[in-house]
C-alpha cells in the first residue's frame, strides 16, 4: 500500500524490538468478542488510476457551475478565484501543518491569520475579528449565544429576511441551551418589521443584509432601537463581496457580524467547506468564540504572533468554555486572505460593482418577460422574482436545458407558502449571453 512505508522486514524487526510475537499481541486489550478477524466487507486496496476512474465517473454525473449559464446564490456564490490562491494553499507547509500551537515553527500560519483578522475587521467595519468559524450559519449561532452571555438576556429576535437555513442551524444550537428565538415572517422587506419586536428581554436582534431575498437595507435605525433597548445588533452577511459596495455592518451600528466568507477565495464545493467570518466590538473580545491570533514578541524581542486568549477555549476551560469549537476553517481562511490581498480595495470595489451590474442586467432581462414579477427593489447581486408557476418546476425544466436558473425559495422554506418565488443571483462570471439564454429559456417554459 503506497501510503504505508513499513516493509514486512521492518515490521518483524520492530516487533522484535518491542518484544512482541505478532501484531495481535499489541491488540490484547481488545476484548475477544470484539476482535475482528479478516477484512470488513469492502473493496480491497486500489491504485490511483482505479480511484480516479471511480471518482471521476461520479464527478462526471454532476453539472459544474462553470459549464452552464448559472444563477444560483442563496448563501453560496460562484466567483472566479485566481490561480495563485489554489496554488499557495496547496503548498505543503500550509496544507499539511497543524493548528499553530508551537508558534516558533508556525509563524506562517499565525501571520496569515493575523492578516485575515485585520482584513475581516476592516471589511465588516468592526474593530476585531476572530480567526474564523465553520461557516456563516454556525457563526450566526455563536453570535446569538455570545449576545446572551453579554446581555444576560435570553431571547433573540430574528428577522424574516435571514436565510432559513441559518435560522434552523442557529435554533438547533441556541434552543439546546434554552435561548428563545422569535423568528419574524418571511418577506422581501422583512427588516421593516424588526424594530417593533424589540423588548426589554431581547438579547439581540438578528438581521441579514442583503437578505435572503436580496434586499439591501440600511440597518442603522434597527441598531439604534436595539441599543436603546439594551440589546445587541447582529448583522448576518451571506455574500462577502457585497461589503465592497454596500455600507459595512460596522458603519450601520452592528455589535456582532456573522458572515459567510466563501465568496472570497473559496469554491462552491456543494456547500462546504466554507469559512465563517466573525467580528465584534472591542469590549466583547473576551466573550468571543473561536480562535484568535495576537501580536507579541519573542525572547529576542522580534515581532511574532501567537494564538491568544485561549482561556476562553475548550481545551483550557473545558465545560466553562465560550464554545466547544476546536478548529477553524484554516485553509479556507488562507484562501480568503490571499484572494483578498490580490484584490485589495481597488479590486474588491470593482468586483462588487461588476456583480451589481450583472444582477441589474439580469433583473432587467427577466422583468421584460410577461408573467415574471421582480420583487426586490434594492439589491446587490441577487433578487427575487415571482413566477406564474411553482419555481421548483421551472428550475427543473431549465436544468434539463442545462441552465441553472436560481434557487426556489420554497426549497429553503417549504412551509412559507412562497413556492412561486425564485432567487436569482448574478456575479462577475455572468455573461450577457448567459442572461440572454436564461431569458429566452425562461420565457419558453412559463
Amino acid at each position: 500500500m503506497r501510503y504505508l512505508p513499513l516493509t514486512p522486514d521492518d515490521r518483524s524487526a520492530m516487533l522484535a524490538a518491542i518484544g512482541a510475537k505478532s501484531i495481535d499481541d499489541l491488540f490484547v486489550d481488545v476484548p475477544e468478542a470484539a476482535r475482528r478477524e479478516g477484512f470488513v466487507d469492502l473493496p480491497r486496496v486500489a491504485g490511483e488510476l482505479q480511484v480516479e476512474r471511480a471518482l471521476g465517473a461520479m464527478a462526471g454525473r454532476n453539472v459544474a457551475a462553470g459549464s452552464v449559464p448559472f444563477f444560483c446564490g442563496a448563501g453560496a456564490y460562484k466567483h472566479h478565484v485566481p490561480a495563485t490562491v489554489d496554488h499557495v494553499i496547496q503548498r505543503s507547509e500550509f496544507l499539511t501543518s497543524y493548528t499553530p500551537y508551537q508558534p516558533e515553527i508556525a509563524q506562517g500560519t499565525l501571520q496569515y491569520l493575523y492578516e485575515f483578522q485585520t482584513q475581516v475587521a476592516n471589511l465588516t467595519g468592526m474593530p476585531v475579528a476572530n480567526a474564523s468559524l465553520y461557516d456563516g450559519s454556525t457563526a450566526m449561532a455563536e453570535g446569538v449565544l455570545m449576545a446572551t452571555r453579554v446581555t444576560r438576556r435570553n431571547k433573540a429576535v430574528i428577522s424574516g429576511g435571514v436565510h432559513p437555513h441559518y435560522v434552523a442551524a442557529t435554533e438547533t444550537v441556541v434552543h439546546a441551551v434554552g435561548v428563545e428565538t422569535q423568528v419574524l415572517p418571511a418577506a422581501v422587506d422583512a427588516e421593516a418589521d424588526v424594530i417593533a419586536q424589540i423588548g426589554p428581554d431581547t438579547a439581540c436582534v438578528v438581521v441579514q443584509t442583503p437578505n435572503v431575498f436580496g434586499t439591501a437595507t440600511d440597518v442603522t435605525k434597527i441598531a439604534e432601537a436595539a441599543h436603546a433597548a439594551g440589546a445587541l445588533l447582529i448583522v448576518v452577511v451571506t455574500e462577502a463581496v457585497s461589503m465592497g459596495l454596500l455600507k459595512s455592518p460596522g458603519e450601520m451600528g452592528a455589535d456582532i457580524v456573522a458572515a459567510e466568507g466563501q465568496s472570497i477565495g473559496n469554491a462552491l464545493n456543494f456547500g462546504g467547506p466554507y469559512v465563517g467570518l466573525f467580528a465584534c466590538r472591542e469590549k466583547l473580545i473576551r466573550q468571543m468564540p473561536g480562535r484568535l491570533t495576537g501580536e507579541t514578541v519573542d525572547a529576542d524581542g522580534e515581532r511574532g504572533f501567537v494564538l491568544t486568549l485561549s482561556t476562553r477555549e475548550q481545551h483550557i476551560r473545558r465545560d466553562k468554555a465560550t464554545s466547544n469549537i476546536c478548529t477553524n476553517s484554516g485553509l479556507c481562511t488562507l484562501a480568503f486572505t490571499i484572494h483578498m490581498s490580490l484584490l485589495g480595495e481597488t479590486g474588491l470595489r470593482r468586483l462588487a460593482l461588476l456583480n451589481h451590474e450583472a444582477a441589474v442586467k439580469t433583473r432587467d432581462a427577466l422583468a421584460a418577460i410577461p408573467g415574471v414579477e421582480v420583487l426586490t427593489p434594492r439589491f446587490f447581486n441577487e433578487f427575487a422574482v415571482r413566477l406564474p408557476k411553482p419555481a421548483s418546476e421551472v428550475v427543473e425544466r431549465l436544468a434539463e436545458k442545462r441552465i441553472l436558473a436560481g434557487v426556489p425559495y420554497g426549497r429553503l422554506a417549504p412551509a412559507a407558502g412562497m413556492d412561486d418565488v425564485l432567487l436569482v443571483a448574478a456575479t462577475e462570471i455572468t455573461t450577457d449571453a448567459d442572461i440572454a439564454t436564461l431569458k429566452s429559456a425562461l420565457a419558453e417554459v412559463l
Binding site: P31, V40, E52, A169, N324, G330
Partner: protein, 497 residues
Amino acid sequence: QDEHLIFESDGWGKTGVDLPEPKADGSDLGDLVRRDPIGLPGLSEPEAMRHYVRLSQKNHAIDLAIYPLGSCTMKHNPRLNEKMARLPGFSDIHPLQPQSTVQGALELMDQLAHWLKTLTGMPAVALSPKAGAHGELCGLMAIRAAHRAAGHGLRSDKPRNKVLVPTSAHGTNPATAAFVGYQVVEIAQTEDGRVDIKDLEAKLGDDVAAIMVTNPNTCGLFERDILEISRLTHEAGAYFYCDGANFNAIVGRVRPGDLGVDAMHINLHKTFSTPHGGGGPGAGPVVLSEALAPFAPAPWVVSGEDGFRLEEFAEGEAAQAFGRLCAFHGQMGMYVRALSYMMSHGSDGLRQVAEDAVLNANYIKARLSDLMSAAFPEGPCMHEALFDDEWLKGTDVTTLDFAKAMIDEGFHPMTMYFPLVVHGAMLIEPTETESKQELDRFIEAMRALAQAAKAGDVERFKGAPFHAPLRRLDETRAARQPVLRWTAPEGSNIAAE
C-alpha cells in the same frame, strides 16, 4: 528573516486582479453605498506569491518531518485526494442546484456513508457535522432528543441531565456536554489509565443521559472493560457516546458498533487523512446506533429507483430530530478526500493502517522507555505512547523545555501536558505513515536530548528553540494586552480605517 505584513507593503491602491471596467457605479443604491476607505491593501500577483511563499517556509509540516502530536494524528495527506476534490464536478457545484444535476455528488455521499457504516458496524450516519466538536454536539443532541422522546427530557419530571466524562477526556467533551445543557460529572481513572468501572457504576443512574468515553482513550490505551462499560450504561438507560478521535488505531480491526457504542464522531482528518490545513477545515460525521438513528439531523441522502435524493427536511419519525446543524450539507470537499483515501486503502489497507500505527507507537515506547518514564509501562499502548515527566525530576528541565528543544532538532514537539491525568505528559503519536528510518532518526534525536537533559545541559533546553524562525514567544504578553489586528501607525497617511 522578518516578513512584513501585507498592511506594511506599498500596496495601498494596487490590485493583483485584472477586472473589466464596471459600467455600474452603484448610484441606484443611493445611501446604501459604502463611501469611506475600507482599509484593504492590494498586492500585485508576484508580490502576493512571494509574501505567502515566504510565510509558508516559517511553518513545520508533515511533508517536512515527523509531526508526532499525540491525539492530533498528523499523517501523510495524499495529493490524489486533493486532485479528486478539485474535479469541477465536485468543487464547482452549488449546494442548492436541482438534485437531478448533482446525482454524482449524492452518490459520493451515499458511498462515504456506506464505508463509514461498514467500518464502524453502525446502521446510520449523520454526515453534516463540520468538525469533531461539531460531531459531539450532533451526537449529544441526538441523545437528548431520544431521551426527550422517551419522556426524560431536561425539563421533564424525570430528567436525565448528567453526562459522565472521564478525567482524561478531550476538553471538547465536557465543553459540548455543558453546551447542550448537561451537568458534567467526572469519572475517575484507574492506575492503569482506564475508566474506573466501580466509580462509573456508582455514578450511573436514572439521571444520567450518557457517558462520553474516548476509545482508545487519550492515554493511548484501549479500554479493556469496554463491553462492561457499555452494558452498564445501557442497563442504566443511558447512551454510550464514543469520542472517535482515536478510531485510526483500530479501524479495520474493531468495529465500535460491536462495542455497544450509540454514537461516535469520526474526525475525517485523523482517520481518513483529510489535511489539517493549519487548523481546519475539519469534518466530523457521526455514526449512530439503531436507537439514535431516528434522531439524526437533516439533510441525508436516500437512494431510490430513480437515483439519489437529498432529504433536506425531516418528515415522519425523523421529525423528532433536532433540525439542522449548518446551512448546507456539510464538508463535501472533505467527503471526497476521505472517500478517495478509503478506496485507495481498501479493507485490507485500512486494517494495516491500524496495525502500523500501533506498531510504530509501541516501537517508540520500547525504544525510549529506558531513558524516559512511560506513564503506563505495563502492556502495549495503542497508536500513541505516553510519557510523564518523572524522568526529568531534578534536571530543572520541564516538559515544555524539552518540547522546545525538539524544535532545534528539526522535529515538531509531541503533545504536552495532555492528557491532564498524567504529570507533565508527553504524548507521542507517530502514525502509520512514518517509515522505520524516520522513526529511528526521531528516536536517536530524542535519546540524545534525553541524555543531554540528564547530563545537566540545561541551557540547551531553557533557551530553546535557537534554530527556529523565532525564539520562544511571550504568550502572556499577547493575552494581557491583546493586539488582534494591524492598525495604521499614528501619523501615517494610509487611507485605512
